[in-house]
Each structure stands twice: as structure tokens, then as C-alpha cells.
Symmetry: C2
Subunit: 885 residues, 2 copies
């Protein structure tokens, strides 16, 4: 054990680690070593290993053997920098940072300027020719140190600062003079002594030991511990400590600091691009007090075009920077975001990381890097976050527009929309007919609102989560939606929306951003979606590698068309009930519900058949032979009933009944838990004539399409099975009806009959269903609800608190719960294939558009995912990444 | 193959089979062989094997090799009986019956008197000296044969019979003369020829071949096929055919027919007991046209005491019968129900089977048989149906009372009750205070009705299934309940119950029988439950052998006391929320719900604490150290809110709020699917102060009891977990609070903290929960609901149709679905024990009182079941039978 290496140095002289040593040096330490190995001018320093942390935890102190190695490494840094820790002429200062193998909340972050004391502050003042800066750095260091390392309550020091500002009659820290700050330092020290009984340590070595101990201590603080518990990370990893020399860009006119990108983060264009400030610290660039200059001509814009470029001012450093950025981009094979500082003519690279970028830029950069032979296609595909493609597919807010955000809800369906607010679907429809743009504002939406949603630019609801009715339907339609915005008080009787006591009337203008959940007053400018050539090229590459097929959830020809443009390979879920809600159909549906006998029901269904048939013909024609999975009627009948007194009366007149009778029938259909009620195939069992009508419509439509030269590939899906006999009975019913239709038409058409696996029992007993199913499709929305015993409509009331408290790491309706619900999916897939190896298996829940879930579906070997049209590209990319990783 | 034996004879001369050959000879055939082997005077005959059936199915005819063996066996019967098939002097007639290894619906049942034709009818008339009987038998034979074997629509023959009766001016078949019947026979034959083109076969051999073929054909008829599909029985079993000589008890005064029991089926008393008729057929005894005589003095009663006994009249036959009955009882080791016929002085045993008996008789017989050394205790335990014990535990209708049944609902909680009907819980309470007996009639009940249910003799609801609120609570209380009686029209505004257009007002008398589901007008006499010494002895034996422990579900000291009397070994589920509903508490609960801050909530909870504590002290004291599983608050808060305008107003006044505010809060708590909503541990997470109050109440009660010398053994159960962190967080919360209470009291008390597994995800992820649980208790009600995606409250609307159509073989809320829900239970048990082998695991759903489910729980190795107090004896017996089988 005496030969254990506890400390690893890094510098352009001597570096002992590399990026493979993440477990020992932590992520940050490994990266600093890696950059040093590359020969970059990283400020020198050393990493105390994670093993040292574990040693510390056992002994409750830094062992002497570790201290020895730290001191030795510190000496090396002194030699390389030609500075001395605690020196009163040319003092060396350090930053101290924690760094575990993954970053986690609660860990001690950063202490800068370690080594400051009454002597070194003067030296820094002299060297920088800026005493105010020196004393301000010292003052900040004491504050940070007292708080982070000594565990001192910071508010007392802060109030002293405020008192001083008041005494001086100033409002900003920056208005305090060097003398003010010097005075503040001595007051700070006095307070610390009085309150804690401890002197602020003037000895730099003592500062260092305490700082290293503080990092190690933070490994076991409650927040970090809980985070590891939640993520199932081991408590035995430990954290490393990175001690690195400070460099200063404010040491005179031969010093500077800046930020640069190796390519344009907005467009992805290949141009070296950045900003800098002479004689300044890094934070000055960010703070925006001084306007930074362009590093080169290509970085010039309207506000900085008259400034000298870094290239002109410090050509040597600029040249070195260009060498560095090229090296870094080649090494990391990606666009880099680089922070640099020039101290007295010497360039230091403080940080480099893959640069944040817009989705458009991400695609352009990925494609360019392939063209430049830096990346292979397979690597390029991994460079774009599937989720980011959303930005490209929907109109979005003009980033330059000003906006007055009045509320924030859930970002339920991306895209931005602006319109006059309305509180009912009827009103949405009316204004839409007048050519007006509207935003539908509802407590929540129900299937009755479909027409109103179609007529609106966007939907805003006060209740419901990411998978509420509004959210799901809006995503399906590709319309922006902000859901569950609980701050909204909606008085739909009087048509008043109140937000923070401010009232909005019908037809007032609002803008919503479904990508962020923001609700804004008035009209905020938007810009349209655009597809570049690179987008098509990039998505083409993704398709080359992906194994999972991608279908779409679509209920009409319009959605189908959009999905096809986005690359859908079929329909994974066509919900026939959405076809029931249009005005001229809903009365026939209600007539069917009120029918007392099967004969009367069949009469009402006969009225619906032509509509269903036309819809199917439209979809068949669009899809031209691609597979179309049609789900037979699923929701409970009461979803089709009217709610308002007026509609009830209308229905009564239509049916020739008394209002009372209509109400009684509506009451008798009421269910305590509709989610678990009389729906899905349970309707098919009790009212076989409904499924018969649907089967006949599908097949008659198919036959007519085929006559018109359109290939058809229908798959008929029986929903909500839990008992094998439900499927065997209904399959027989449907197949016999189809055979009748085909015989009447003297035609032959291939079709499949399968089922939806959306209840735990169906998943458990999959082998029994497989014998009667040509395919399975997992309805993971309902499967998640029943597996968790959690209604997605009701969960919005406590799910935020659940996620806030860390009970759930994420919303299981957004990303599939792989261990629980996933267990059932995998079990059912295996059992099903065992009995029926030729069956195909897909998934049509909301999770079909979620990249992490798609990764899981790929891993367990499903055949396809299906998602709303606007998520098809996301799914295609995620599927490709799954295949490649 | 040529040596295959297709036909097995049976007679007291030569019998080729025995009861072990069920698969080859069918159940009936094996039993006939067994009785013959015993030397009983069974009418001789033969069985055509199930293999012959399969041969028939393949060849679509009876092969010659089989026909040969049938003819040979027939000859043997002729020799034994000294009669001849088709003979015009002493003709042999046969009965032909199907008999598969299990009996199933749809199979051809019985054809009697095969061999009747124009010649043999006359011989029978002469031999019986009863031409009317002979022609009537012939007439019936033709009708049955035409229908069952020739597939002739029977209505045409029946209408001819009706026409003849009208022509003769008589109303009963028995009023037709021999000549009438002879005429009818010839008309029947003419109709058959005209309608089918086929003559009725006069040749007895032809009759036989057609009858055997008809039995074989019936194996594949649709009803039988569907039944086998539903029960997963193989279609390759086939059915056997039993051909047996007919004997006649109406061949003169030396002939007779009768039925006897080896012991008294009402009381179980050991007395040979039966009735007979001289010169009569078996059906005459049943038809009740003539009053039958007693077989011996012990069988005499008021109506037959003047008759001669069989013992007196035919002492030889009687003596032979006593030998037979003793042999049979000894052989089958059970009380037998024997049918016999004496033909011309010769005794034949037509059938023997274990006799139906009352529960009291069953127990007495079982105990006596052990005392008589006929049975071992282990065997005796298997002789009583656990379900039948119900009869003993509840008052029941006097079987002699006349009753006017006006409706039949579900037999939801056994026992009979009579009372004045009331439509509200308040009214039940008022009349109860006046000392009146009431029946509470409700659309359905809710937790608000608890007080009203307590005040009632029985509960009658129009909605809800076997596990609806009313049913579950009534069973818990041991009160009779008829649920889901959908024919009831309840107008609770005007207090009118309408059944089939007849109206019943408040305070009209009704009687309900919760064991049959019957609803009766007026008062029907009831008799009380009684426990015999034999009952205690018998249950004691059961306890000796059983491995599963039996606990009870009880929420108060009263239920606890009943359950202890019935032998409960602890409480498996104490629902704390039932304690919240009493008048003085509910306001504090509502105050808690309306509290805006945690502090206000805690203030309201502080008011509830004394009540909870008192309740727990009562239960602890009753149970005296037996384990008590207490479930923390489970239902969603809105269950505690008032519904009527009046109650809402009262609450508003109490809280000092406006009615509108109260209504808004109530609305905001509304849930779409409460079953899947904000309940169970989800309340504990969002309002930890509720669980803290409950934990403190439990422990303070325990400490005080201990001080009073009462042992305590509390188990605290966290309900509705789906994510492991819910349990780890709440366990910590509860344990810390308990530790505080114990520290304050300077005391130590052992306790456990565990969880309820009632959601599929909890079952799937059981290994993760086991680390934080001292026990699991399966909540199979909710687990069934979520696994099937089926709300038990809503399912009552279509479950009857589901069971009627055979989609479900039985209600999964009554008997556990072993393959689906059972998969999860077994999985969770295994995974849990793997991680935490010392944990105990039980079940507290309704299935804990169902014998078939108990068998399953025993098989997979649970530690205990828990059920409502009145089902504890049922569970004890079922558990013993599981251990022994």
C-alpha cells in the first residue's frame, strides 16, 4: 500500500493520467489529463484520486502519505509556472474542484483563488495593476471559503456587504472602491472569528488541506447520497479533487480572456467564431458590462465590427488558438466550445467541451464532419439528439422577439402558436370559419373537443399531464399544446381567464410555446419550420442503420400525409373512434347507444358505416400498400354522450324521447373508473354488431381501393383483451364477417387480425393470446396506467411533487418504466413469439416517440414503434442510434 | 389392433372394469363396474369404450369389430336377465347413456326403454299388467328417440299430444287412456315418416346402432366442444356409451321402487332412512302423485306413519338392502343416497352416490364416521365443503316458511334478514334507535353509509358486484347482503322502491336471503345459527392439519371479538379509514382536507388522534398479543367529502367558509379514475403528517396497553406502493416517529413495518420492496382490478354477460385468477423471500376467504390468509383441506 499513487499531475510538461482513467481521476480530472496529453496549454495542476477520498472516509483525515504526494505535486506546479504558493511577489493561486466519475448535485463545486491572504492580495494588486480587482477577489474568496469550506452561514457576510453599500450610498458591488473592499475583508474576518471562534486561515497550505477535506466531506452529504440512491450509484466510488493553477486575463494589455466555437452554433456553418476582452476576467465576457470584440473578421457583427480582432491584436496567441481548436475538433470529432485566457502573452485553455447548438446546426455540423472525413456516418448519427429534431419540425418563436411570459405549464406538444383565446370548441369552430386564428383554452379537453382542437392553432389547458387527452391529441395533430398550467383560473361560464389576478376575455391574444410550456401575452412573432438538404441526407443515413421500423399513429388522411412526409413506414395505430365525433356522425353514434335492441343498434350503425368506409378509403389511398393497423372501437360509450343541457335536449328531440329519459340513460352509463370499465373488446363482446360494422367497413373500403388500383394492407386490432376467449371469440366474429364481405365481392385480400397488449394480464398470459393473433401491439400508455395503478389524468395532481421529491426520477408516461412495465413488455414478446414465431410485434403508446424508450424496444427486439406524425423523424433517428450503440 | 377390447361388460356375474378405468370407460361406466365388482345387484350391461368413440370419429361409423363385441356383450346380458332383446314374450329393454371422464353440457344424456316396438310394447303391457304404462313408455320412447337420435324437432310431436288432450277434454297426460296413447304412437310414426322421410326403426338392433352413434356424435357438438375449450379439456378424450338392462318396479305387487339414505341428510343422525312405492316406477316417487311409504319404522313421520314399511312388506328385499347400504357406506366411506328397484321380488341397485346434506349434517356425519372408525380424521376433513359452513354461521330462512320472491340479486353476504326498508343511512339510524329492524336499500353504498349499515339488519343494493362496497363491508360485519339486484328501481328522493311495477314505500317489510340472493315480500321466518359440539371438534381437527394461518379483516373491537370466536389468529387487515367516518370524527377529517397549510392540517389531525388511539387500544386489548396488521390511510380524500347540499352547507359553516369555496375544493379533488388516483401511500408522500399521526396513535395505544398488562404485536402496513422509494421513504418516516414516541415513553415495543402488494408493478419489482419490508400482504382485490384493467364497481354491468357467454368461467373477484393474478402473487412471493427470507407473507383481499384461492395460496407457500370474520371457519377448513390434498 505504501507504493499507492494518490496524486496525478497534469501539465504540458508531465501528465500522468488520460481520459481512460475516469474511475480513478473522476470525469473532470481525466479530461484535464487528456487535454494536457494533447499538448494543450492547460494551466498545470494535479488530481487527488477517488481512492484518496475513500481513504479519507475511513480515516476521517487526509493521511500523511497522501499529503506528501500533494506537496510534491504542488512543487511541480510552482516550478512549471515559475510562481510560488503564498509568495508575496509572484504568488501561485489555485482553483479547487470536486470531480466524481459522474457529476452529481450536492457535491462541493469550486473554490477559486485559493492561496489569497493579506500578503498575496497585495502582490496580485501590483501584478494586475488593479488593486480593486485584487481586494474584490480576496473578498469573494473569503466569502466562498467561509461558506463552502468552513460551513459558515453566508447571510451575515452578505448583509455586511449590503450595509457597506448603503453607507457609501451605492447600489452595485462594482461601485465600491479598493479601500472599501479592503475594509470589508477585515470586517469579514472579524465576524468569522466572533461567530465561529475560528480565525480565517492565512496560511495557504492550511487553506488547501481544508479545501481538499471539504471536497471529500461533500461526497457523503445528504443531497449527494440521496442522488446516488435514486440512481443506484455506488457509495464506494468516491470523488477526486482537482487542484489547478489560476491564470488571469487581467494582468495588463498583454492579457485577455475569451470564448470561441469551432463552428457556428446557430447555423453549423464552418467558421471559427468567438469573442474576447483585453485585460479582463472570464466573467466579464459573460456579464456583458463591456462589449467583447471579435476574435477574427468572421466573428464580426453589427455591434462589434469596429473593434480590433484578437487576430490583429495578439497574432501569436490567435495563431496558437487556431492550432488548438483544429486539434481539439479533430480529437473530439465534434464542434468545440473553448474557454481561453491569455496571461501576459501566454495562451491557456481553461475548458473545452462539445458546443451547444441548434438542431439545424447539429445536423449541418454532423453532415459536414462526414464530408470532411472527420466522422464516419455511424458516428455522425450519434451526434444529434433525437429530441432536438423537434425544433426543426414545428414553427417556433422568433428568438429575437420580446415576450411577456405570464405562466408556464407543461411543454406538451412542441411548436409555437398565437391566437385569440376561446373557451369552447364551438366558439373555436365559429371563429375559425371566420378565418381567425384561435387558441383553445380549457380546464381539460375531452373527445368532444376534437373539432375545436382541429379549428385551433394551439391548445392550452389548466389540468392534465404530458399524456393527457389534450397533449396526446395535440401531438398527434402536430399542434402546439401547453398542458397542466395550473396557475390558470378558467371561468368558462363567463369566458374569463384569470392569471395572477389579471383577466383575459374571449378573443384576447395569447401566444403559447409548446416546446417550453410558456404562455405569453399578446402576439409573439414565430418563424416557420424548414428542412435543409442536409436534414434529408442525415435522416437517410439514419435509415440505413436502423433495424426498428417506424410507423405513425394517425386517424385520418391528413395526419397520414404528414407522417408519410416525415418518413413513416405504415400506421401503427388508427383509432376508429376519432372518426365518430364529427357533427353529422355523433348523432348516429348516440342513436346507437340509446337503441334498446340489437336491431335498432344495427340500424344506427348502418348510418355510420358510409362515414367509416370513406375514412378508411382515404387512409388506404394515402398509405398505398403500407401496413395500416386499425383498432376497433375502444372508449366507453359514455364518452360519446353530450354534457350540456342544450345538447341533451337536442338529443332527446332527435331520438323522440323525453329529456328525463335521456338523462337516465346517461346516468346509467356513468362509471366510477371508466379507465377500468366497459370499453375496448368488452364492447365488442356485449355489442358484437359494432365490431361487425367496423370489420365490414374496413373490408369494403379495401375492396373498392383495390379496384381503383390501390394496394391495401389492413391489420385489424382488438383492444383491451385480458382473457384469451375475448380474442378467440372476436377474431372469429371478425374473420367470418370479412369472409362474407370478400365472398360477396368475389375478391381476395390479405389482412391480419391481432390484438393490443395493454393490460398486465394480457402481457402475463401472452402465450395464450398469441395463438389467435397475427400481431401484438403494445399499448404502453394503458399498460403503464394499470401496472402502476396510476391514472394519467389524475396523476398530474401529485406527479410533480413525486418528481420533485425524487420518488420518481421521471414521468413514466413520458419515458417507459423499463424495469416494471418493461418487464411485462419483454415477457409478452418472448412468450408470444414462442407460440407464434411468425407474428410481428410493435408498440403504439406514446413511448413510441421517446428515444430512451425506443432504445429499450430495439434492445428487446420489437419489430416497430409507432408515434405521432411529428415524432416520426425523432423515432427514426433514435432507432438508428439504438442499432449503432 | 384386432385384439383391442372395445366393450367391457358389467354384472354380478362377470365384470371387466373397475373405478380406476375412468379414462377408458368414462366416469359413469367405471362406477357401474365398481358397483358390480362390489357384488351389488346392478342391472347388467356393458360399456363401449372412449377409444371406440375415437375410432368412430375417424371412420364416421361404428366399425364392424366394435359391433361384433357389442353383440357379444348384449348376448351375455340376455343370458343373465333371461330376457331377449326384441322378444315378444319377455323382452329385454336397455337404457343408453353417454359418459365421458368428466360430465359436460351438450352431451347426449339418456335414452330409456330402447328396444320398444309394436311387438315388445304388448309384452310389457302383459308382464306389467298395465297396458297404459306400456303404451305411455313406448310413446315417450318415440318422442325422445325422434328428438335425441333422429334430430327431429320435438315441438310437432308435442303439439299433437296437446291436440289429443284437447280432443279428449283432459288437461293432464295421465288422464289419457291406453287406447289414446296407442293412437298417439301411430300418429307420431306417421308424422316422423312424412316430415323426415324416415321410418321410425322397429328393429331393436337398428335402434341400438343409431343410439350409440348419436352418443358418439354428441362428443363433437358445439356446446360440448366449447365447454372443453373453456376448460382446456382435450378433444381427444372421447366419450364412452353405457348400455344397461332396464328393470321395472311396476311389474306387480312383488315389485317396488324407492330411495334411501344411509344417514339422515338433515341432521346427520345415524339412522337408515328412506321411502318406497309398491308396483311403481322411480319417477312416481319423485312426482308425488302417490304418497310413498317408509322403508322402516325409523323412516316414519306424520304423513306416512300408518303405511306398511318395506321391512314388513318385503322383508327379504329389505334385508338385502340393509346389507347393501352398509357395504356401500363402508366402501365409499360416506353417507350414500341409493336408488333401488325391486322387479318381481329381485332387488336392483340403480344408483348410489354421496348424499346431499345440510352443513350441520355434514359435520355430524364426518365426526361420527371417525368415531365409528370408518374414516380417519384426515379423510373426515375432506368430507365437508368449506363453503357450506356458511349455513351454520348466519341466521337463515326457515326452510318450512313460505316465501314470495320478488327479485333475485347476487348472494353477496350470507344470512337472512327481515326488516322495514329505508333509503338513507340517517333513516336507518333513526328507526334503529326506536328499536325497529330495518333493511337498507341503496343504489350502492359508500363509506358514508357505514353507520347506516351498522344500524340495519341487512343491505340490498341495485348496483355493484360480489366485491362491491356493500358486499365487502356487509361480509365484514356478518350482515346479510343482496347486491347488484338490477331489477330494483330506487327513487331515493321520494323513498319508493319499484319492482316489476309494484311499489314499496319506506317502512314496508322485506326479507332478504344473502345466501341465495332472493328478495321476498313481507316477513319470512328465520332460524338462528347454532354451533354443535361436533362443530368445535371438527374445526379442531382441521386446525391440527392446516399449515396456513388464518387471520381476519377487522376494523373495530366488535368485529375482532366475533373473529376471535371463529378462531382468527390475528388481524390481517385493519383499515384505519373506517374509523374516520363516525359523526364526531368526520368533521375533523374534512377540516384536515380543507387545511391550506401543513400546520392547519396538523391541527385537525390532532383532533383525530385521540379517536384513533382509543380504537387501537380496543383492538389491541381484544387481540391480546396476536399480530395486528394496521393499514395506514388508503382511500382518496374525496371519499370523505359530503355529497348533499345540506352537508356541504354544514361543512361550510363549520369551517367558516362560503358554500362556493367548499364546492370548489370538492370539485378540485374530483378524480376521473379514483381507483388509480391520489390515494394510498401517495397521500403519505404528499401529506406525511397524516401517516405521522397514525404511527403515533398506534404506538401510544400500544404503550398504554402494555402498561395495562396487555401484550401487543402491531404491524404497520404502507398501502399502494408502486415505486421502491415510496416504501423506503415512508418506512423511515414512520420508524423515526415511532422511535420518538418510544423514547418519550422510555419504553421498548416490538413492531413491524411492511407493505401491501396490490399493484402489478409492486409485484413485478417485489425484490426491491423486500429490502424495506418486514412483511408483504397481497391486496388481491386491487391487484385483480389492475391486472385485468377491470373496476369491480363497474364490472357488474357486463360481468354477468361475460360469465353467461363463457368468456370468463368465474368472477375473478370471487375466486383468484390463478394463472394471471396468481402469476404476479407467486412471482412477488419468490422475489421477496429471495431478498428477505425472514419476512412473512400473507393475503388480505376478499380471496382470503375463498376455498379455491386458499388452496392456491397454500400451494405457493404463503404464511397466512385473512378474511372477514364470518369466513374465518371456512378459511380454516379450506386451509386444512389444502394441507391434506
Amino acid at each position: 500500500m505504501s507504493s499507492t499513487k494518490w496524486v496525478y499531475s497534469f501539465s504540458n510538461k508531465k501528465t500522468e493520467g488520460d481520459r481512460s482513467m475516469k474511475n480513478l481521476l473522476g470525469g473532470k480530472g481525466a479530461n484535464l489529463a487528456e487535454m494536457s496529453v494533447l499538448g494543450l496549454a492547460v494551466p498545470p495542476g494535479f488530481t487527488v484520486t477517488t481512492e484518496a477520498c475513500l481513504d479519507y472516509v475511513v480515516n476521517n483525515q487526509i493521511s500523511d502519505k497522501i499529503k506528501e504526494q500533494i506537496v510534491a505535486a504542488l512543487k511541480q506546479v510552482e516550478e512549471i509556472t515559475n510562481k510560488k504558493f503564498g509568495d508575496d511577489q509572484n504568488p501561485l493561486l489555485f482553483s479547487v474542484r470536486s470531480g466524481a466519475r459522474v457529476s452529481m448535485p450536492g457535491m462541493m463545486d469550486t473554490v477559486l483563488n485559493l492561496g489569497m491572504n493579506d500578503k498575496t492580495v497585495k502582490a496580485i494588486g501590483k501584478l494586475s495593476n488593479n488593486h480593486r480587482f485584487a481586494w474584490d477577489s480576496y473578498r469573494r474568496f473569503i466569502q466562498m471559503y467561509a461558506n463552502v469550506i468552513m460551513g459558515f452561514n453566508v447571510s451575515m457576510l452578505e448583509s455586511t456587504l449590503e450595509d457597506l453599500k448603503e453607507a457609501r450610498g451605492v447600489s452595485e458591488d462594482t461601485e465600491l472602491t479598493a479601500e472599501d473592499l479592503e475594509e470589508l475583508v477585515s470586517v469579514f474576518k472579524k465576524i468569522i472569528l466572533e461567530e465561529s471562534g475560528l480565525s480565517f486561515p492565512e496560511d495557504p497550505m492550511e487553506q488547501l488541506w481544508l479545501a481538499v477535506s471539504a471536497v471529500f466531506d461533500s461526497w457523503d452529504n445528504p443531497r449527494a447520497t440521496k442522488y446516488r440512491d435514486l440512481n443506484h450509484f455506488s457509495h464506494d466510488w468516491g470523488t477526486a479533487v482537482n487542484v489547478q493553477a489560476m491564470v488571469f486575463g487581467n494582468m495588463g494589455d498583454d492579457s485577455a480572456t475569451g470564448v470561441c466555437f469551432t463552428r457556428d452554433p446557430s447555423t453549423g456553418a464552418k467558421r471559427f467564431f468567438g469573442e474576447y476582452l483585453v485585460n479582463a476576467q472570464g466573467e466579464d465576457v459573460v456579464a456583458g458590462i463591456r462589449t467583447p470584440g471579435p476574435i477574427n473578421n468572421e466573428s464580426k457583427n453589427v455591434s462589434n465590427k469596429t473593434f480590433k480582432t484578437l487576430e490583429e491584436l495578439m497574432p501569436d496567441s490567435f495563431f496558437e488558438l487556431t492550432t488548438v481548436y483544429k486539434k481539439l475538433e479533430e480529437h473530439y470529432k465534434d464542434m468545440q466550445d473553448i474557454e481561453f485566457t491569455i496571461e501576459k502573452g501566454k495562451l491557456y485553455i481553461l475548458q473545452t467541451r462539445n458546443g451547444k447548438r441548434t438542431a439545424a446546426a447539429a445536423i449541418n455540423i454532423a453532415v459536414d464532419l462526414v464530408d470532411e472525413d472527420i466522422l464516419k456516418k455511424e458516428e455522425a448519427i450519434m451526434k444529434v439528439e433525437p429530441e432536438d429534431l423537434n425544433q426543426l419540425l414545428h414553427p417556433r418563436l422568433d428568438p429575437k422577439a420580446t415576450k411577456n411570459v405570464i405562466a408556464i405549464g407543461l411543454p406538451a406538444s412542441p411548436g409555437a402558436a398565437c391566437g385569440k383565446i376561446v373557451f369552447t370548441s364551438e366558439r373555436a369552430h365559429e371563429l375559425n370559419l371566420e378565418g381567425q386564428k384561435v387558441i383553445l383554452v380549457r380546464q381539460e379537453t375531452s373527445p368532444e373537443d376534437i373539432a375545436g382542437m382541429v379549428a385551433s392553432q394551439g391548445i392550452l389547458t389548466a389540468r392534465g399531464g404530458m399524456t393527457s387527452h389534450a397533449a396526446v391529441v395535440a401531438r398527434g395533430m402536430g399542434k402546439p399544446c401547453v398542458a397542466g398550467c395550473s396557475i390558470l383560473l378558467i371561468d368558462s361560464k363567463n369566458n374569463i381567464l384569470t392569471v395572477n389576478r389579471k383577466q383575459y376575455q374571449e378573443e384576447d391574444l395569447l401566444t403559447i410555446d409548446g416546446a417550453t410550456g410558456e404562455v405569453m401575452e399578446g402576439e409573439v412573432a414565430t418563424i416557420a419550420a424548414d428542412f435543409s438538404q442536409n436534414f434529408s441526407k442525415f435522416m437517410g443515413w439514419a435509415d440505413e442503420f436502423r433495424i426498428l421500423k417506424v410507423r405513425t399513429n394517425a386517424d385520418n388522411a391528413e395526419d397520414t400525409r404528414i407522417a408519410l412526409e416525415f418518413g413513416a413506414e405504415g400506421i401503427g395505430l388508427c383509432r376508429t373512434e376519432h372518426m365518430f365525433f364529427e357533427a353529422e356522425r355523433i348523432l348516429a353514434v348516440r342513436e346507437m347507444i340509446f337503441a334498446a335492441t340489437r336491431v335498432d343498434r344495427e340500424k344506427a350503425l348502418e348510418k355510420l358505416k358510409p362515414f367509416q368506409k370513406e375514412d378508411f378509403k382515404g387512409i388506404f389511398t394515402e398509405m398505398a400498400g403500407k401496413p395500416i393497423n386499425i383498432r376497433l372501437l375502444d372508449p366507453p360509450l359514455h364518452e360519446f354522450l353530450p354534457h350540456t343541457e342544450e345538447d341533451l335536449q337536442e338529443l332527446a328531440s332527435y331520438l323522440g324521447l323525453e329529456l328525463k329519459q335521456v338523462k337516465e340513460r346517461c346516468d346509467s352509463l356513468h362509471e366510477f373508473n371508466p379507465m377500468l370499465g366497459h370499453r375496448g373488446c368488452r364492447l365488442g363482446i356485449t355489442y358484437p354488431e359494432i365490431y361487425l360494422m367496423q370489420a365490414r367497413s374496413i373490408m369494403e373500403a379495401a375492396i373498392e381501393c383495390k379496384k381503383n388500383g390501390v394496394s391495401v394492407n389492413p391489420e385489424i386490432m382488438i383492444p383491451l383483451v385480458s382473457v384469451d376467449y375475448e380474442l378467440s371469440y372476436l377474431r372469429k366474429l371478425v374473420v367470418e364477417e370479412i369472409d362474407r364481405v370478400l365472398e360477396e365481392a368475389q375478391d381476395k385480400i390479405k389482412y391480419k387480425v391481432g390484438t393490443m397488449i395493454e393490460l398486465p394480464r394480457a402481457a402475463i398470459m401472452a402465450s395464450e393470446f398469441a395463438a389467435y393473433a397475427d400481431f401484438f401491439s403494445f399499448g404502453t400508455n394503458d399498460l403503464t396506467q394499470t401496472t402502476y395503478g396510476l391514472s394519467r389524468d389524475d396523476a398530474s395532481k401529485f406527479l410533480p411533487e413525486y418528481i420533485g421529491k425524487g420518488v420518481l426520477v421521471e414521468d413514466p408516461f413520458v419515458s417507459l418504466d423499463q424495469s416494471g412495465v418493461g418487464f411485462l413488455v419483454e415477457h409478452a414478446k418472448k412468450e408470444g413469439k414462442k407460440v407464434n414465431p411468425s407474428m410481428h410485434i410493435g408498440i403504439c403508446g406514446e413511448h413510441g416517440g421517446d428515444p430512451r424508450s425506443i432504445h429499450f424496444f430495439h434492445k428487446i427486439g420489437l419489430d416497430y414503434v409507432s408515434c405521432s406524425p411529428f415524432r416520426v423523424p425523432v423515432a427514426r433517428l433514435a432507432a438508428a442510434q439504438s442499432a449503432l450503440s
